[in-house]
Symmetry: C2
Subunit: 203 residues, 2 copies
């Protein structure tokens, strides 16, 4: 009885890791070619299985997109939730957000790129749901900027402009992956913090 | 004789302004739907003429893309050329570049968006030529940052990171056009300068 249940657990684990592998390959393809231009057949070829076998692991292309984007969304929500509960100064909260986003772009570039470039292909109800969460995330970031100004930590920069600048800057790192630049991820993260935090600080 | 030449001049002027109108409509469509997804028929419909008549003004879809992108490229080259010849401090040169790029994004948004998002669809020899000019432009921006550090005006931030951050920040303004934010272009420009210049300055 125990042997049966162990082998079932192993099979389950193997299936889960196969699914992870499919999601990783899919993120790479969606990120490079775009969601619309990637077919299930392309994906099966990239994974090295028959297209029909793909459906043992996932139900549809849309389901893959949903999983990729909602895993990233969860990470973002958890991170900003911890900042809200924590006791950091507002400027330190912004620093933490910059580092968090730079690290996502450095180490989970495909997933992050899919989230920011391909979200509009989510089917309902996920599309509306994602948009609401995205808007809430921006509102939370804007509140940190507003609090930072009101508490005398930051300059009076429109929160909308500050958040747009922060998120766009990180987004630009997409190009770093394709460039021949030999700058380390850590140096990029530190320089970006140095640049952007000093720009926000009051003194 | 004079009358004939005047009416020829008028006809020529009308044709030129019709072409400008076609280019503006094309930039709006390329920017919104992408170059690949826009057909000559779509464009003719948007301009309000027969598809066949389009060819009185332009030879191909590629030619439109070339004209849009190389006009913008010229503007960029002229601007940075003037900065190179001028006597501004390096920090003032960066400020001028930020204002220039923000203004392009604010007032020539379609053309600018087509340049940064659709350049890869240029046919040769324009594709290679554009890439060389783009690289030269970035090298010139990086030199201003390097000079700024060496002359004690700026912090020691990798020029690659600084230029990427500057250009990406401006690129993000693409979203401003689609948002319901009521911030004026001038306020956005000033806040972005305030944010980014202070971030680069040594003291």
């Amino acid at each position: 009885m125990q042997i049966v249940s162990l082998s079932m657990a192993t099979a389950k684990r193997k299936k889960a890791s196969k699914k992870d592998f499919i999601l990783r390959r899919a993120a790479a393809m969606f990120s490079e070619k775009g969601y619309s231009a990637t077919s299930m057949r392309d994906l099966a070829d990239a994974v090295g299985i028959e297209a029909a076998s793909l459906y043992n692991h996932i139900q549809s292309k849309a389901e893959i997109l949903q999983e990729i984007i909602f895993r990233m969304t969860n990470d973002c929500n958890v991170h900003i939730g911890e900042l809200e509960k924590g006791k950091l100064s507002n400027i330190k909260k912004v620093e933490s957000l910059i580092r968090f986003h730079v690290q996502m772009m450095m180490y989970q570039c495909d997933d992050y790129t899919v989230m920011i470039n391909e979200w509009m292909h989510l089917p309902e109800p996920y599309l509306t749901n994602f948009n609401i969460q995205r808007r809430q995330y921006v509102v939370k970031m804007e509140k940190i900027i507003t609090d930072g100004f009101q508490q005398g930590e930051m300059k009076n920069i429109a929160p909308y402009v500050a958040v747009l600048t922060l998120l766009s800057s990180v987004r630009g790192l997409e190009f770093w992956h394709r460039s021949s630049q030999k700058i380390s991820p850590q140096k990029i993260e530190d320089d970006m913090v140095n640049f952007l935090i000093k720009g926000l600080k009051k003194n």
